[in-house]
Subunit: 123 residues, 2 copies
């Protein structure tokens, strides 16, 4: 049902869109899968339905979702289902670069950063 933090600085609709991008690229959401309705998501997180709709709409424009009139939104049927690892890696690239830059500004040793991230990835 999406991991949403309404308090975050990142806009809710963008949290949803980006999460959709990753879940679809990673295969956890497969072609044809039906998404929870805007009202369900909105009710669950106590946010406005239009905010969810906006996210769904942008994902549709992007080709991630398709609208099944009367039924809801479903993951679009793309040519290849799951993106290659390189393609998925590319979605993380900007974040990785920012992290590296910040670590350098903090003068942190690379190993320490890698160790910590390794631990977080294992959980």
């Amino acid at each position: 049902m999406f991991a949403i933090q309404p308090s975050s600085a990142e806009p809710i609709y963008r949290q949803i869109v980006e999460q959709l991008r990753r879940l679809i690229a990673g295969g956890q959401l497969a072609s044809g899968d039906l998404l929870p309705s805007v009202r369900d998501v909105a009710g669950f997180h106590a946010i406005n339905p239009m905010t969810v709709s906006r996210a769904y709409g942008m994902a549709e424009t992007e080709g991630l979702l398709e609208r099944l009139r009367g039924k809801g939104m479903a993951v679009a049927v793309t040519t290849r289902s799951t993106a290659t690892q390189a393609q998925r890696m590319a979605l993380l690239e900007a974040q990785l670069q920012a992290l590296a830059r910040h670590a350098r500004e903090l003068e942190l040793p690379g190993d320490a950063v890698l160790r910590r991230l390794g631990k977080l990835l294992d959980e």
Copy 2:
């Protein structure tokens, strides 16, 4: 002279404040160091001087900088100059957690992520 991207979604004044936090914690900016004037920074990046002033002002409120009347802003003289590695690491924690979550949503193998980050950290 700060790494600023006026096009970024992140507000300019916050880019500056956060960069100051890291550069000071890491010791690249030491107690007493004089910062470039608001007019210089603004001129260089073609942004409004008041935007820089706002960032400096927030950094002062935070205790990072102190105002030397007539001279400019300088890195505040704190008890201990450079933060411990654990303290600096804490400034990266949230970003690391977000990265780990995204990697999991992308179903990316941990080693691949760690390898790529390692390479970026070496440059």
